[in-house]
């Protein structure tokens, strides 16, 4: 019997994205396109992993409302185990509302992740068996601090590496005191700034921040820097990988695809340098799709986009 190789813990939500057709004007209605898709960092990572052929189990929570059904329905991908998803009767499912400018860059967003509180340490404990057999645990910072502590404790007990996606600047504070438990961390520049307390505005600063994350106990630090690519560091080396040039349809979900591809690489025993390169190519695949997770994501596509 196959146990899922990766457990992904965190948020699943409905993404509602409005992209302006022209220059956005404040305090008025702007013509544009509105698209609804399933999102949530953990859910996106899990779906990407499944599309890359990695068996993954998603531990998340949804409400019994139409959004909750939509999330579950759209997450049915071969290889993704949804049996652990907690469905809370009468609760409001998580949702994310984003406004994108005409180039697909996010202007601002609101998230309603209140339901994440239903993921208690007890809920995680009840899936202890999964941790025992997993090769990696991925966690996003949407879960409560107590639940995060439980995830780290279980991972430590079963010696499973943990990959952490800080998700946002607001949530990165939650991760900061727990850096020593993070095997891999994938913040963007702003989140890295919160985690390290130093500015991350250019390549040199990102490299310093990555080293600082290593000093705090992280084994592999990957700082994403949008169109400038990423900066990474680990005990055996460090480097930068430039972004793959592509037409950006929507930037949401790029870092989740990146995290998933890095996890895919590391679970399959690739070197860190190769895994981060795959990450960059996965991010470009996500950018080219208006969906949060590109439905065309596959190993073939990933390797095709890869620049060696």
């Amino acid at each position: 019997m196959d146990a899922p190789e990766v457990i992904v813990v965190g948020a699943a939500c409905v993404d509602i994205k409005g992209k302006a057709l022209g220059q956005m004007i404040d305090a008025t209605s702007n013509p544009g396109k509105i698209k609804l898709s399933a999102g949530g960092a953990a859910r996106n990572i899990a779906e990407n992993l499944a599309r890359l052929g990695v068996s993954a189990a998603l531990l998340t929570v949804v409400g019994s409302d139409p959004f909750g059904h939509a999330i579950l329905e759209r997450s049915k991908v071969s290889g993704l185990d949804l049996s652990g998803v907690l469905v809370v009767e009468g609760a409001r499912s998580a949702a994310y509302l984003a406004l994108l400018d005409q180039d697909g860059e996010m202007l601002l967003s609101i998230d309603d992740m209140g339901i994440a509180g239903a993921m208690t340490p007890e809920y995680i404990e009840s899936y202890r068996g999964l941790f025992r057999r997993a090769k990696m645990v991925v966690v996003d910072a949407n879960i409560s601090s107590r639940t995060m502590t439980t995830v780290f404790a279980l991972a430590r007990r079963y010696r499973v590496p943990v990959c952490v996606n800080p998700v946002s600047v607001a949530l990165a504070h939650k991760v900061k005191p727990r850096l020593k438990y993070c095997t891999i961390i994938t913040p963007n520049a702003a989140e890295a700034q919160v985690l390290t307390g130093q500015a991350v505005a250019n390549e040199q600063q990102a490299a310093r921040a990555a080293q600082r994350l290593l000093a705090a106990g992280v084994e592999i630090a990957i700082i994403t820097r949008g169109e400038e690519g990423l900066t990474y560091a680990h005990s055996d080396g460090a480097g930068n990988v430039p972004a793959v040039r592509c037409e950006v349809a929507d930037s949401t979900g790029a870092s989740d695809a990146l995290t998933a591809a890095v996890v895919y690489g590391l679970v399959n025993g690739f070197s860190v340098d190769e895994a981060v390169r795959l990450g960059v190519s996965a991010a470009s695949i996500a950018l080219m799709s208006t969906d949060t997770v590109n439905p065309d994501m596959s190993l073939e596509y990933l390797y095709e986009t890869l620049r060696i």
């Binding site: 019997m1 009840s126 068996g129 999964l130 390797y303 620049r307 060696i308």
Partner: protein, 281 residues
């Protein structure tokens, strides 16, 4: 039945068929043929032969004549000018700041056409460049965007095996290669290990794939529950070349048996989809 002759224009390129007429051609003859892109010089690879009407890809163009010493001399002269044309064109591209990488410049045998092969990540508007080049070289200019695999084929090189690139030495076509082939052959999936110098999956992943698939078809799959001469157990390993199966017995002992000696009791697929998978904490 039509008479055809197979002609190749470049090393390791596709063979094209032409109507030899009454020329009495032999293999290795150099010939001048009419193609969709103008007159070209090529070499006979397949001697004139009769084929069925329905095997001919219409229209069958004629071989104009055997190449004369003068044609070959012209061909050599223009070949010698290609490097210079390449450098000049590279300068022009740099001047215009176009996002393209020039790979090769190629004259046809009589210099009536000069083709530049380039790679680029996106579409390039090269209309102005074509005008520049035409006024520099005073001949018909063609710019052709090629892919990374074509680039490797044009430039040539050595593969990770230490031999000359297959595409540059004998492959006339690029057969599709997939990650599944690497998986079916139990190869590591590291991009660096299974990619060629072009950055795409190695063409040789496909060479033995059929054999592996045929061998695997007669073997149990990973995770199948099988009966072996030493008792029932789960398949934990396959050696396709040796055609042996590694089985973990109920006693946790690991044994290896020839694939022909084990019988499948339950497929791993059935188990994976079954209810037993869920929540066994």
């Amino acid at each position: 039945m039509p008479n055809v002759v197979g002609v190749r224009f470049k090393r390791a390129s596709r063979i094209y068929y032409f109507d030899p007429g009454e020329l009495g051609l032999q293999v290795s003859d150099d010939v001048i043929v009419e193609t969709t892109r103008g007159t070209e010089i090529g070499r006979v690879i397949v001697a004139p032969t009769q084929v069925l009407e329905n095997e001919v890809v219409e229209p069958l163009r004629p071989v104009l004549r055997k190449a004369e010493p003068r044609d070959l001399q012209l061909h050599d002269e223009f070949k010698a000018r290609e490097d210079q044309a390449f450098d000049k064109a590279k300068e022009k591209i740099a001047q215009r700041g176009l996002p393209m990488k020039l790979v090769r410049a190629e004259y046809n045998f009589d210099g009536s056409r000069l083709t530049f092969f380039f790679t680029s990540e996106g579409r390039v508007d090269f209309r102005q460049l074509v005008r520049d080049l035409a006024s520099t070289f005073h001949t018909r200019i063609e710019l052709r965007q090629i892919g990374v695999r074509d680039q490797a084929k044009l430039i040539g090189g050595l593969g990770c095996c230490g031999r000359s690139l297959c595409c540059a030495s004998f492959l006339s076509d690029f057969a599709p290669v997939s990650i599944k082939m690497a998986k079916d052959q139990s190869l590591p999936l590291n991009p660096m290990k299974i990619s060629g110098v072009c950055g795409r999956l190695l063409c040789c992943l496909g060479y033995e794939n059929e054999g592996y698939c045929a061998a695997r078809a007669s073997m149990p799959a990973m995770d199948d529950i099988v009966n072996t001469p030493t008792g029932p157990g789960k398949v934990v390993g396959l050696n396709v070349l040796k055609e042996t199966v590694t089985v973990q017995l109920e006693s946790q002992a690991i044994v290896e048996h020839p694939a022909s000696a084990v019988t499948v009791l339950d497929t791993g697929e059935g188990q994976r989809q079954g209810p037993a998978r869920r929540r066994r904490q």
